[in-house]
Amino acid sequence: MADTRVELCGITLDNPVIPASGTFGYGYEFAELYDINCLGSFSFKGTTLEPRFGNDTPRIAECPSGMLNSVGLQNPGVDAVIREELPKLRKVFRKPVMANVSGFSADEYREVTKRLSESEISDMIGWFEINISCPNVHGGGMSFGTDPCMAAGVVKTVRKVTEKPLIIKLSPNVTDIAAIAKACEDEGADAVSLINTLMGMRFDLKTKKPLLANVTGGLSGPAVLPVALRMVYQTANAVSIPVIGMGGVSSAEDVLEMMMAGAAAAEVGAANLRDPYASKRIIDDLPAAMEKYGIDKLSEI
């Protein structure tokens, strides 16, 4: 019997499959489709201090083997997440969830993490995933993830308010992602997750203008898998903390590839938007894929 269990910062996951932030909401709507307790965990929608509508529409564009999004961190704000969203999740999900925290300043990351840590739902949270890599917001977001010093500053600030594992979500829109990961590790990050989306754009041939109202957006989907594998490989060789791999993962085989590149677990993003059952299907397919490639224990790849 194939053993799909993996460990992530001291917490054992039944399998390494984690729906990525922004593709799974706060989980409970997917629970209407299937029992989401089959997941390793999932990372909830990027949460900021204040409610955000995000960018103007259109904020989705299709690409060969993928898509661009410029949603811009739409979310109801941390207080509403604590009051309304997570109590709904608690009714349908028994496993530790990954709390994705976004912000526009180091203080905002700290405050959101603090409020979640001190709330009555803090027991639901297994890890904090600090998103310093959103390409779709201005004056924050990705700018923290493109400079080792700024990234380290965020880690240092957030580290003070939580004992829970801190995962830093990194941007691929950099020259040397391993250097950023190293800077995060040095300030006490427990893991890094990568890659967030790659900045891109498309034009509307009829209007001759950018298709997205925000002009640029983040590319995700199978198109980015090779880039993600390369960056996970480079990062895993540079740091000793766990690396969570994501970027175009759409099948059990992709999960295996991510782990061969050095990932401790894999997040599944855009695939959930094409097929709402994608994460469940990947989990169901994992044992057979492991058997096919002679892998008994996933944690030993």
Partner: protein
């Protein structure tokens, strides 16, 4: 929402750029006109969301049936759809979105559709006519060559009025020009069409004539089932996802500012 495989049993052109497809399979997830389906096409990453135009059950349990969609060729994806042959199997998400609430229709509902906004009104008209209501339909097109389904609405027993932008058929102008020529004593309205048309209808029919209604919105979607937040719009009741909280919104909640 339900994911299922559906079989193409008809795929034909209605006009130079508008086509009709009939799909057979599990239709149990649909419960209102105005809902839509999201079709996966080979080689395309995102699905194609298309409104439900008609629905006929083929069993007594309202599970199996035939649904009709009408789609306009807008890009490569819809172009490929025209080449699908009878017997093709499609991966479809069914029963998506919140449709029209027909319980508000009153005794004399008005339906207003423009272009590919016409199809979802057909099933609404059919259901309203089943209740034997006095249904008026205003259908707007660019030109006489673009007209489809006007006869189908008449066959349901609706009073159908045509407007064409170039005046080549019916009233010259927009659906609002046709509205002005009617007795405005309607009890409720249902509408679907491009945003400029919806704005004109909002201003003239809701704000001007004081008739409340429900309008179906279109937006570029990612997933089609509420996960990606790609298609959100701001309303008086906060942000709404067109795909999940819509596509049908009530005039009272729409946040458009109309110049006084």
């Amino acid at each position: 929402m339900k994911q299922c495989m559906m079989t193409v049993i008809e795929n034909m052109s209605l006009t130079h750029d508008t086509h009709r497809m009939r799909l057979e399979g599990d239709v149990s997830a649909f419960d209102a006109p105005g809902q839509f389906l999201d079709i996966q096409l080979d080689g395309r990453f995102l699905r194609r969301p298309i409104s439900l135009c008609d629905l006929d059950y083929t069993d007594q349990y309202a599970r199996e049936g035939v649904l009709t969609i009408i789609y306009k060729v807008l890009g490569e994806g819809t172009e490929e759809m025209t080449r699908l042959e009878k017997g093709a199997e499609l991966d479809v998400l069914t029963g998506l979105g919140n449709g029209y609430d027909l319980s508000d229709a009153g005794t004399r509902p008005l339906l207003i559709g423009g272009g590919v906004g016409v199809p979802p009104l057909y099933l609404a008209a059919k259901k309203l006519r089943e209740k034997d209501l006095d249904v008026t339909v205003i259908l707007g097109y660019n030109s006489t060559d673009d007209i489809f389904y006007d006869d189908e609405f008449r066959m349901l027993g609706c009073d159908a009025v045509i407007a064409t932008a170039d005046g080549s058929a019916g009233v010259k102008g927009f659906v609002t020009d046709a509205f002005r020529q009617l007795d405005p004593d309607f009890t409720h309205f249902y509408s679907c069409g491009p945003e400029p048309m919806l704005r004109a209808v909002f201003e003239e029919v809701y704000k001007g004539a004081g008739i409340r209604g429900q309008m179906s919105f279109e937006e570029r979607m990612g997933c089609g089932f509420g996960a990606c937040m790609g298609c959100s719009i701001q309303t008086k009741n906060g942000s709404k996802r067109i795909c999940k909280d819509g596509p049908v919104l009530r005039t009272e909640e729409i946040a458009w500012q109309i110049p006084e």
